[in-house]
């Protein structure tokens, strides 16, 4: 290479692709990743960005935190085209990164292929379920989350809280993680309150299903008009649009409420705070951080790693939700964690 600066210096870019972990003595570039003493973590996003307020962002934050804790180096690539997965992973393998995180179930094939070809590198596939009969590599693990449990918990809470017995869900694309949330939510709501009906809409388009807040808001508005009083927004920015719309509605926080998804959206979508009682959360950041650390320490425990999912804190609504409701929900969540309560969700 010639004497040019990389993205680490200079700055000014909001979407800076690389950022060294701040700890003193941490590597500032990836030229020495092949050195066993130098720990490098790379991340490839799904066709999305690391600021998507959703799973890409959570994984990104988790991986960055892990690298920082371990005094390592971290960098990411945002995929623009689903056909670039392999090429983008190879950017990291060429530089002999130690751990590579790939985000999204569509990358499963590319990840396992890269794992087979690069036995010295550890791969973590977020949201990826592998077929144990086909994948034999030991240097890869799919980090999956029980979205149905998070959805179930949220649905249970909503079932107990609703006054109109009408709930709504504004969803992104009809794909497995979203479906699991949605079906879990419905099952949980019905378990808590058999009289409840749940109106469910998936975004019809394929390409911008997670990026259409205007559509999400419109659907939420319509559901509110049809007397739904708690609405679950689960579909990236599309769902966020629904949350924000409900936050603007009259009665937000007193008569109508919303429930977020994936992360604690109290933090990621502040505009939703007036109505946001909780979020059906999967702890992607924490899961990624933990799994990266596991990878540094040694082998993965299994082909799949199960992350945690549950409900976010109630924040300002802590005082407004009746104690018995909170207790019942906590109990249900605990039972699911213990495995004594099954959500019954299958795809």
């Amino acid at each position: 290479g010639c004497g040019g600066s990389t993205g680490t210096s200079g700055g000014g870019s909001t979407a800076s692709g690389s950022g060294s972990a701040g700890a003193a003595g941490a590597p500032t570039d990836d030229s020495k990743c092949a050195d066993p003493a130098v720990f490098c973590v790379g991340l490839v996003t799904d066709t999305g960005k690391v600021d998507d307020k959703s799973f890409n962002q959570s994984a990104h934050e988790g991986a960055m935190a892990a690298a920082k804790d371990e005094g390592g180096f971290y960098k990411y690539i945002e995929t623009q085209d689903a056909k670039d997965y392999a090429a983008n992973i190879s950017q990291f393998t060429n530089k002999k990164y130690d751990v590579i995180v790939t985000v999204g179930f569509l990358m499963a094939d590319a990840t396992t292929a890269a794992a087979t070809a690069n036995p010295d590198t550890k791969f973590i596939g977020v949201d990826q379920g592998y077929d144990a009969t086909k994948v034999t590599a030991k240097n890869v693990t799919g980090l999956v989350f029980p979205e149905d449990q998070a959805g179930y918990g949220a649905g249970y809470l909503a079932g107990l809280m609703t006054k109109t017995n009408k709930l709504g869900q504004v969803l992104g694309l009809e794909i497995p993680p979203v479906q699991k949330y949605a079906k879990g939510f419905e099952a949980g709501a019905k378990a808590a309150n058999p009289k409840v009906t749940v109106a469910t809409v998936y975004h019809p388009a394929a390409d911008n299903a997670f990026n259409d807040p205007v559509w999400g808001a419109g659907e939420a508005k319509k559901m509110l008009a049809q007397k739904a009083d708690i609405i679950f927004g689960a579909g990236g920015n599309t769902g966020n649009g629904a949350l924000q719309e409900i936050a603007k509605a009259s009665g937000a926080g007193t008569d109508v409420f919303c429930i977020g998804v994936d992360t604690d959206q109290w933090d990621t979508v502040p505009a939703a705070q007036p109505c946001l009682i909780t979020s059906a959360e999967k702890l992607i950041s924490q899961g990624v951080t933990d799994t990266v650390k596991t990878a540094k320490a040694g082998d993965f425990e299994g082909l799949q790693t199960l992350g945690k999912a549950g409900l976010s804190p109630f924040h300002d609504f802590d005082s407004k939700i009746p104690a018995d409701v909170k207790a019942k929900v906590a109990d249900v969540v605990k039972q699911m964690e213990a495995g004594t309560l099954k959500t019954g969700v299958t795809l």
Binding site: Q57, T200, Y202, N211, K221, K222, M223, G241
Partner: protein, 332 residues
């Protein structure tokens, strides 16, 4: 009056039938009908504004396929200006101003430089996509909301009142007013006569002493403000965030609406409403269940319905004859 009725008989009959059907549904299914009308209009608002941009452009002889980009830029500028200054008003003005700028870009390149109009529109779209996703900053929020207004008296009318005149911000009202103003402007004022002549047969306008280039420049630029308003509506009113590609093809749909509306503002409103309503039906089918049609297929309903309607409606509509062609004077 009598001739007006005679001239518009088909339209009037269709409008009457639609209106009656709408009221019947409204009273028969009062649990869902109002919300569906609301959803239809909510869906239609940005389409109406954007379709007006298309109508003004093409009536002046400039094809604008850059509406999508104009809206996206305006949504971006509006949202981030509001977030940065803490003032919704500044955001709205910035969005409209950006729409004007984008309109000015299209006008200048196509009218002054005689760049191919399709190319100029495509350029605008790619620039908008690139700029807004490249410079996007996440984590910003709007300082407030655009307040909803109730229009006195009008909001009391059943169906029409709760659909159009209550529970919406001023932007929705502006969309209606703009459609009426543009319609009256186009067909009943000097500006409209000149604009239409420039879009139909510019050399006739030129020889009649009309400054073709200037009229096109002004019209296309000013129409940009409506695209700006549509963008503002998307990121600051209908939702409260800016996302990459959040216009989601609405600029192109607006073009389709414009053509379906035969390049007439009020008909475009009707078509946008039709489109919005079928959308509401599609999602209602999904949500009430009972129908075992997969959501991917019900979601295509509005588009299928559009094609079917167009294929059945015999007779082709004809757009402004000079739309798409730069006006080149005899010796240039």
């Amino acid at each position: 009056m009598g001739t007006w009725v005679a001239k518009n008989r088909t339209t009037l009959v269709v409008a009457a039938v639609v209106l009656v059907a709408a009221y019947v549904f409204y009273y028969a299914k009062n649990d869902i009908a109002p919300s569906m009308y609301g959803a239809a209009w909510g869906y239609a608002i940005p389409l109406v504004l954007a379709a007006l941009v298309g109508v003004i452009g093409e009536r002046s002889g400039v094809v604008n396929i850059g509406i999508e980009g104009q809206m996206l830029l305006a949504a971006f500028a509006g949202f981030f200006s509001a977030a940065a200054t803490g003032s919704m008003a500044v955001g709205i003005l910035a969005g409209i101003g950006t729409g004007l700028l984008a309109g000015g870009f299209l006008a200048w390149t196509t009218v002054r430089w005689r760049m191919d109009q399709i190319i100029a529109g495509v350029v605008l779209n790619i620039i908008a996509t690139g700029l807004t996703s490249f410079y996007l900053v996440s984590g910003k929020t709007l300082p407030g909301v655009i307040p909803n207004i109730e229009v006195p008296l009008l909001s009391q009318i059943p169906l029409i009142g709760d659909t159009f005149f209550s529970g919406r911000s001023a932007i929705a009202l502006v969309a209606i007013i703009a459609a009426v103003v543009v319609h009256v402007g186009l067909f009943h004022t000097r500006w409209g006569l000149r604009t239409r002549s420039v879009g139909e047969y510019p050399s006739a306008a030129d020889t009649a002493g009309i400054n073709v280039e200037r009229l096109r420049l002004v019209n296309v630029t000013l129409a940009g403000s409506l695209a700006g308003l549509a963008g503002v509506y998307l990121s600051m009113d209908a939702s409260s965030s800016f996302e990459r590609g959040m216009t989601a093809g609405r600029g192109f749909l607006a073009l389709a609406i414009m053509i379906m509306g035969a390049w007439r503002p009020l008909r475009a409103v009707a078509m946008a409403l039709f489109f919005g309503f079928v959308n509401a039906v599609a999602s209602q089918l999904q949500q009430t269940g009972g129908f075992d049609v997969p959501p991917q297929l019900t979601g295509t309903l509005p588009y299928v319905a559009t094609l079917v309607v167009l294929a059945l409606a015999a007779g082709r509509v004809r757009g402004p004859a000079a739309a798409g062609q730069p006006y080149v004077k005899k010796d240039q």
